[in-house]
Symmetry: C2
Subunit: 400 residues, 2 copies
């Protein structure tokens, strides 16, 4: 049995919190499992370092930022190893380099290329607890790199994959993944299990818990992820492959994304290549287009709709004005995207109908619809966002 545990910034935010983490690690070790622990920097430390760097430069050199930022996780890993040793558990702390985390050379946003598991494995075989500084790695030429937002989760998942760990536990200050945002629907329930694909579609629900990149990597490496709170002993949510989930619910959760803006191009010439031109331009500008809707045209012209993150709306506006592809442009920031997610809908019809009926019953106009095998997304006016979530949560009986 091998358990990889990852503790985020708030979980190691104070010396007292680190003591709690040490107890949990010790308990896991006592239960008979080998343990690899991946730690983040103490909360606030990374921001402090970023602020110092920004006081010197608006655009600090990225290679040096990595040397700077990687120090926080090293501190936490050393402190936790010192404490576990004091508690009588033989423990070794490792930097990203020592843990064999090899990345590409894109500083501050490096991607893990592979894990050289030799060193960790050797220490585990000797019975040691291994504490790894998360968020960091080393490039082929020996440069220190960091993995960007959610980097420590990535470290943990990659290590769990390389070592074929039985489980990879991600500890934060949140219990797990809920059927929807409990601030909107107080009777939202915590999910026991969810598939990787559902989790990816529910990104907006789980964003605070788990970054999309980590879920994608876990899916690729077939790592069983559990998100749990380090502040209590509640069971968390297991994120695993679809086949591993016993009872496949029709709908697992309702997500709401308030950071969307809708763009509509009216009177786009209905000829080949126009859409390609538009979206190539947006991609070049780095705009993350989400939903895209195009209807069959009438009289050689059509309407094209898509959504972008709100803070990329200005960039989108400029790009669109440059290419003059349409007769008129409309921008609407007052929208939200509500999504119904569930692997069960693959094999059941009628799930979408329920969603549309439910919103109709509430007199909510649906502006855009987009569906995938396991998701139905609807763009509606922002004022109806929370009402829609509550109504859909009820309609699919997610509180049962």
């Amino acid at each position: 049995m091998l358990t990889v545990q990852k503790y985020g910034g708030t979980s190691v935010g104070t010396l007292e919190r680190i003591r709690e983490v040490a107890k949990r690690v010790a308990k896991t070790k006592e239960s008979g499992s080998d343990v690899v622990v991946v730690v983040s920097a103490m909360s606030g430390e990374t921001n402090k370092l970023i602020q110092m760097a920004n006081s010197f430069s608006e655009n600090p050199k990225r290679r040096e930022m990595d040397l700077l930022l990687s120090s926080g996780e090293r501190v936490t890993s050393a402190l936790l190893a010192i404490l576990l040793t004091e508690m009588g558990y033989e423990t070794i702390a490792m930097s990203g380099r020592q843990a064999g985390i090899i990345t590409d050379g894109v500083h501050t946003k490096a991607r893990i290329e592979h894990i050289d598991r030799t060193h960790i494995e050797k220490e585990l075989k000797k019975g040691l607890i291994v504490v790894v500084a998360g968020f960091q790695g080393i490039t082929e030429i020996g440069e220190v790199s960091t993995l960007g937002r959610g980097g420590s989760d990535l470290s943990a998942v990659a290590i769990a994959g390389a070592l074929e760990a039985d489980i990879c536990e991600i500890y934060t200050d949140v219990d797990g993944i809920y059927t929807t945002d409990p601030r909107i629907v107080p009777k939202a329930k915590k999910l026991k299990q969810i598939s990787y694909d559902e989790m990816l579609e529910l990104a907006s629900l789980g964003a605070k818990v788990l970054q999309t990149r980590s879920v994608e990597l876990a899916k690729k490496l077939n790592v069983n992820l559990v998100t749990r709170s380090s502040f209590n002993d509640n069971e968390g949510t297991l994120i695993t492959k679809e086949e591993g989930i016993m009872e496949k619910p029709l709908v697992s959760g309702i997500a709401i994304d308030k950071n969307q803006a809708r763009v509509t191009l009216r009177g786009v010439s209905d000829k080949p290549g126009i859409a390609a031109e538009i979206f190539r331009k947006l991609a070049d500008e780095g705009v993350n287009v989400d939903m895209i809707i195009q209807n069959v045209g009438v009289d050689g012209a059509t309407n094209l709709g898509f959504t972008v993150p709100q803070d990329e709306l200005e960039l989108t506006r400029k790009s669109m004005e440059e290419i003059e592809a349409s007769q008129s442009l409309e921008f609407d920031k007052h929208v939200v995207k509500v999504s119904v997610v569930g692997v069960g809908m693959k094999s059941h019809s009628g799930v979408a109908c329920t969603a549309f009926d439910t919103l109709a019953d509430e007199n909510i106009n649906i502006e855009m619809i987009s569906t995938s095998e396991i998701k139905i997304s609807m763009v509606i006016h922002e004022k109806y966002g929370e009402l829609a979530v509550r109504a859909l949560h009820d309609a699919y009986k997610l509180d049962k």
Copy 2:
């Protein structure tokens, strides 16, 4: 022209101080010299880390302490490199590992074994300023190590030696080396030059500025050291080989060491091997014996005197009681050691006489005397310590 500059903790203690350091580095670069900068952790940071570790363990694991403590210098080196880059100077920061500082495996007190200068040299050739995290290195097997007290000075001296730098400037909050402690003799003068050997003998004067280890290494590697203040533009003190010093003063300085205790063994059997037994025992216990005085014996017995650091007196007492080598033991904490140091005395007689006359004129009894080629040390009662220093400073006209 290649200049190595080392900035200590107070010199990089705040972001504002780091700005001042950057200006000085830039000025050196502008003057046409290549520059390697070695930095300490921001003052207070290392102590903060030690305190955290000690809150978890009275005797924290040393390997992990090194991982912990090495983070502070990485932060400073990255910040300074970011700032210099922003100022328009191409700069690269390096950890101890990246700078090629290879040490033995004695964690928290490692010794530099050699410098692999490839990486620094490559970047210097490209015209970059190189900023190195001081105090740290890496062992042959890839473990992070730290060099103990004064470690950043050692890093700087070792790098200056490996690169055959023209000069190695050690910046602290002190101007340089003085003829004696200016708190005792306000008219003490700053020395322009001093030889390695004199500096080693004057260790107690320069202890705040430069550790003995660094001076020894500089001597071994033939590195021209300059100690200067980063808080003003005063010229510092050049520490170099004796042959490099133009005018060899008879006496360079008067040192006072208040941390000495005198031990006297009366009635030691005057036969071979006794002294060896006593000092082997003390060495085994880790006592740092300084002066040793033994007179010709009378009637098969002799008196043996030596000095030890005050805080090792208890340990000395215990060791001495165990071996019962003498008829009686005397311990005296109320002593100081006053030393007159100067390379000139090698070729001049009468220097010692002046010292003895001077103390006699002040009615100061000399309890022990020990001399080397370039030093006369006298142990006297502590109440006369400052008087002796002032009198000797005057006698040798060191204020002229």
